[in-house]
């Protein structure tokens, strides 16, 4: 637990000292959402029909960008190897790193999402579902992308492979998240998909670090 907090603090400190890396995924999120009206017929009805899904796709893509290099700099400067050597379970170190990244990239996203959703004419009441749904889904997305980053940590150009590995695994989150948003926009009950998102979050946060730790060990041995 000690090491968990130490790694968490260290990664948060590093992240806040590199503002550009922090801001890029958020900027990317805004740009992706702006691309949809350009590609689709920009009339109100059309955008309203698609509005529930657009924040989800943009959030998924921006987390892919944010976490793709999660372990790379640590692996390159050797600090990852030091963490591997430490007696603490690697899983908790991994969880700390993913948590730090989620705090700096996922949480600010939640602040941006309401503005984006409202611009796509999503009703204000639906925000009360969209934001919690993202809060439940982004930890799972972070874990899955971190797994992709760990699997490709020893590759020079892992970025192109990570999307192939991770996006199919993220499809249930898109389905449940967008469905919850859509149901909320139509004023229907949303407990079902939210519970499912919560259960996936529990599953991935508890088992994911083990798989990520195994992948890191193989990648760096």
């Amino acid at each position: 637990m000690d090491l968990f907090l130490i790694v968490l603090k260290r990664d948060l400190k590093l992240a806040f000292r590199r503002w550009s890396e922090l801001a890029n995924p958020l900027l990317f999120f805004m740009i992706v959402t702006a691309m949809f009206p350009l590609a689709l017929p920009p009339n109100t009805a059309q955008l309203q029909a698609l509005g529930a899904g657009i924040p989800w796709i943009a959030a998924l893509l921006s987390s892919l960008l944010a976490l793709e290099a999660l372990f790379r700099s640590d692996a390159e400067d050797g600090s990852m190897e030091q963490l591997l050597l430490s007696p603490a379970p690697l899983g908790s170190v991994v969880l700390a790193k993913v948590a730090a990244h989620w705090i700096v990239s996922g949480v600010p996203l939640l602040a941006l999402v309401p503005a984006v959703a409202l611009s796509f004419y999503l009703p204000v009441e639906a925000l009360a579902v969209l934001v919690p749904a993202l809060l439940l889904a982004t930890p799972t997305i972070s874990i899955l992308v971190a797994l992709g980053a760990a699997l490709t940590v020893s590759l020079k150009s892992g970025a192109s492979v990570i999307g192939l590995l991770v996006l199919p695994l993220c499809s249930p989150l898109l389905i449940f998240g967008a469905r919850a948003t859509d149901l909320a926009a139509n004023g229907e009950a949303t407990a079902g998909p939210l519970y499912l998102l919560a259960s996936l979050a529990v599953l991935s946060v508890s088992l994911g670090p083990i798989a990520i730790a195994a992948a890191l060990k193989v990648g760096l041995e």
């Binding site: 492979v161 192939l164 695994l169 499809s171 249930p172 389905i175 798989a211 195994a214 193989v218 990648g219």
Partner: protein
């Protein structure tokens, strides 16, 4: 935990190479015969469906390819898991050989489904259909696995890294399956895999099962032949292989 002797034997490349060589012609012969019999039975002897007519004869090919595709992913993941835990090279070779076959079967399931859908549903592709989406995602999982494997130069690392992906993937396959089932669908419900009496008449069920088993034998035939090729590639320079090629090994 003490492992039985046959399990240790399966870890030896020369033993598995010889065993696969012995089994594969039998699997091939049985598989091809069953497919030929089942297809003839299904296309010529079995009655046309009262609702869909002759178009329904797709059930003698299409569900089989979809089922074998899923089975290939389970074989891949189990082999990868065994290879990761016990560090068996042969198990990793099985996983590596299963991936392209599974991808091909999954692609065939999508292709035959499209061909059937064009006259029956009036569209060859329907984004809203959960099973099309599931098969497509399964195909992406296979391709992602193969892409990850291909990205590594070091074969041993490729084995161990892709094994983790295979195991994580197989945990996710049911989740993906049930999450896509959430959509409204125009795909007909499961016909065979339900409790109680199957909703297919016997004269259609028999050829259905014959081609199902035929494809299964066919899959394991191709798997063993690919496995032999994979073992030869991995064991380049090994003494047993040189002796085998020189003919001095029985």
């Amino acid at each position: 935990m003490k492992l039985p002797v046959w399990f240790h034997k399966l870890g030896s490349p020369p033993y598995v190479y010889a065993l696969a060589g012995k089994l594969s012609p039998w699997l091939g012969a049985i598989g091809c015969t069953l497919i030929a019999v089942g297809v003839f039975w299904g296309l010529v002897i079995a009655p046309p469906d009262y609702l869909q007519g002759d178009a329904a004869r797709i059930i003698y090919i299409h569900p089989q390819t979809a089922y074998i595709g899923m089975q290939a992913y389970v074989v891949l993941a189990v082999a990868a898991g065994i290879g990761f835990i016990w560090r068996l090279k042969v198990a990793h070779a099985v996983a590596a050989s299963a991936a392209p076959i599974g991808a091909t079967f999954t692609f065939c399931a999508l292709a035959t489904g499209s061909i059937w859908g064009a006259p029956t549903w009036g569209t060859f592709w329907e984004w809203g259909d959960p099973r099309i989406m599931f098969e497509l995602l399964l195909l992406f999982l296979f391709l992602g696995y193969m892409a990850l494997r291909a990205a590594f130069d070091d074969r041993e690392k490729a084995d161990r890294v892709s094994a983790i992906l295979g195991v994580v993937g197989v945990v996710n396959v049911p989740i993906i399956h049930y999450s896509v089932l959430w959509w409204n669908t125009l795909h007909q419900g499961p016909t065979i895999m339900q409790l109680g009496a199957p909703s297919m008449t016997t004269d259609m069920l028999i050829p259905f099962l014959i081609t199902m088993f035929g494809f299964m034998f066919f899959f394991y035939w191709v798997l063993l032949d690919r496995l032999r090729a994979e073992i030869v590639e991995r064991e380049q320079g090994a003494r047993w292989l040189r002796e085998l090629l020189a003919g001095s090994r029985p």
